[in-house]
Subunit: 427 residues, 2 copies
């Protein structure tokens, strides 16, 4: 007897899932002995289901799926943390297993939905919530479990990586690259979730929770987006042998978990430096495996649908074989989270300052007063408003000290023209 | 009750497994609920076990492990296809699950051992047989199963990649780079399995079998090693914007599976081009997921032990939960293998030829007679023996035609000085 699937949410990823089922259901049965059948598709409009040849399965009420006793697995692809949360919780309570690509839900209500899944003895799979089609949650939960993971670090947002690549390689301004990404369908009309870093923050919260066996939520992640990055910053970085990427970073340290998202300068020789455009890559370091990296398309209908359907097939295989959920929540430890103020690293700081005597001396004195040692300083030519760009790269310094120094420089009378730009450096 | 492990083979990888168990057994229990215990270690000498603090578990007779009714999982790490095959088959017959890193065994006797595992209802896991610690077999068998895989291609032999990197970056000759690799412990005294490509061939046979759901054995893989690669070839490739890597390649084509190992020119912009030293990387293309790449340490005690113990923990988890093997053999199709003579691609061909009038004209005529169209030709300065290097890069041409042309050029009287060098080009 086939395992019955109900799909809630028929946008690009949901459409991709239908396409996979139509193209490969016969292969799944022949190769893997897994017999799945899509029996219901919930979406806002019938035309979305019709576009993928599933008009006859259409409903606009998700209860038609949750209350259908035949359905074994519910795929949740509507996103967000309101209706999606209801769908997932009600589906589990109705005894169905759930597959979701919803990173926001998992990064905020992960504990709640996983607890319920365990309580009702059903599976909750969310492999598509991070990295599009890149297998990363699977490897972290299986192949790599013999390791103590030291770091998980990556480019996990395709939109911002596409924008930064356009700015660095084609000299576009931030505004031009955003408009371009929107025109190409890589950025949404309201791009905040991407450009402000929240999408990446949700993803690193999920990855870090699995990697370090401790619950990390979206609120735990220091998050800074790319909105203040300028071409000047990218060019200066390039001249120093670096590229700027929006990195999601999580390190295990002796005093807790360091987890954050921000624009980051990495050496051009780093494996992540050549990951361009909409591609994603996630770098994992374990105590025995050493360095590993997982690369692929981080977005797009096909890639995300591949991950969703990989989960669906795995859950369906377990249902067919009568296997109870194998892997539940693995957040057994309760490790402290380090606030960013307590971290020490290198910093790139660009100030637009008044071009007059004494300014550099005052700034140098303030850095010295805060124990921030400067590795290099570059001054770039005068601009129309009479200001010059002064760029510092620090030695390893304490974040709180760097911030205090910047605040104090901002207080110098008539010195700063606009906000300083701060980019953290990861070697 | 703990799941009992017997280890057969206590070299570097086996020692790494013992180290992982000693360091992390408590973590596995706390994080994953998996309780494993190493109860017996078989090796040639007690000192190997003692080095890893397991002298009290030592035996030099593998029957002590196979005949011990307490033992649930046997780890086979002795390698080769003779005693190792006996150990694996006898362990399965004794009702134990088996974890092996043995690529030669899986690429030659894979069918036999997997059939027996299915017959006796035990698990046979071999995730460490390809790519050292890189999770690749797991993703192919789980996360990526919703795809029809189109290509699997990679750098899967660390020794030869280290040698080619040394030759390209430090100008070492083949002989120097081999001696260097041997001195550093990256190559064995008898380097044939690595430099002649057989190690890579076994690995691509395993990957292709899983990716294409069809049994491919070592004998099916066209295999050419790196022994005839010279610095001249690497320099010429670099000048043309390429690097030379020993690639293991498997493509699904309309008329069968194309599977081979040979030195390959790839553009410097390709993701695999920057994989240097002992690192490995495997590139997978699926019809929905698009391009993905998996990168990491392809060799070394820790990396391989990470993969072995990942399998051990997964099998132990199943044993604890009373789950029968979930994934058996997936080679359900019987696809034809394409011989290399039937393939068409681009070729780099270097001839050392006599430096006299008419030679180039004769060679050009022979290529034309065989329908091999030339994309570019470079002649490099005269050498001490009076010969010159003439390097052709062809347009896409049929392998058999290229070979016939080369054979015919070899028949030209007093033209060739030494063997021509042929490197296939993958764009």
């Amino acid at each position: 007897m086939s395992v019955k699937i109900g799909l809630v949410g028929c946008g690009t990823v949901g459409g991709g899932c239908i396409d996979i089922i139509h193209k490969h259901a016969g292969d799944f049965l022949r190769h893997l002995g897994i017999d799945i059948e899509l029996v219901r598709v919930c979406s806002l409009s019938r035309s979305e289901a019709e576009m993928h040849g599933a008009g006859d399965l259409f409903t606009d009420d998700f209860h038609d799926i949750i209350e259908d006793p035949e359905i074994d697995i519910v795929i949740e692809l509507i996103g967000g943390t309101t209706i999606a949360r209801t769908v997932v919780l009600e589906a589990l309570r109705a005894g169905k297993s759930v597959v979701t690509a919803n990173k926001a839900l998992m990064a905020t209500h992960g504990q709640e939905v996983m607890d319920l899944a365990e309580e009702v003895g059903r599976e909750l799979a969310f492999g598509a919530s991070v990295g599009g089609g890149i297998p990363i949650i699977g490897p972290l939960k299986h192949s790599l479990i013999a390791n103590e993971i030291e770091s998980v670090m990556g480019i996990v947002n395709g939109t911002t990586n596409f924008m930064l690549t356009s700015m660095a390689q084609e000299g576009m301004t931030y505004e031009e690259s955003l408009a371009n990404a929107q025109a190409l369908g890589f950025a949404e009309a309201d791009p905040s979730a991407d450009v402000d870093g929240f999408d990446a923050a949700a993803k690193i919260a999920i990855l870090a929770s699995i990697a370090f066996n401790t619950r990390i939520t979206l609120d735990d992640v220091y998050t800074k987006g790319i909105t203040s990055i300028t071409i000047t910053d990218l060019e200066a970085a390039r001249d120093m042998g670096y590229v700027v990427k929006l990195l999601a970073i999580a390190h295990r340290t002796e005093t807790g978990i360091d987890v954050r998202v921000h624009p980051t300068m990495i050496p051009t020789t780093h494996q992540l430096a050549t990951v361009n455009g909409v591609f994603n890559a996630i770098y994992v370091v374990g105590d025995f495996v050493g360095e590993t990296m997982f690369f692929g398309e981080g977005a797009g209908a096909g890639a995300a649908a591949s991950a969703v359907m990989g989960d669906v097939l795995e859950v369906a295989r377990h249902i067919q074989q009568g296997i109870a959920p194998i892997v539940g929540c693995t957040c057994t430890d309760d490790l402290p989270i380090r606030t960013i103020e307590t971290l020490s690293m290198k910093y790139y700081i660009r100030f637009s300052v008044a071009d007059r005597p004494g300014v550099l001396a005052s700034m140098a004195q303030i850095f010295a007063d805060h124990n921030v040692s400067i590795h290099s300083m570059i001054q770039r030519g005068a601009k129309e408003d009479g200001s010059v760009d002064v760029i510092y790269v620090t030695h390893v310094a304490l974040e709180s000290a760097v911030r205090e120094a910047i605040d104090q420089i901002a207080l110098l009378p008539d010195v700063l023209h606009g906000e300083p730009s701060l980019i953290r450096v990861e070697e």
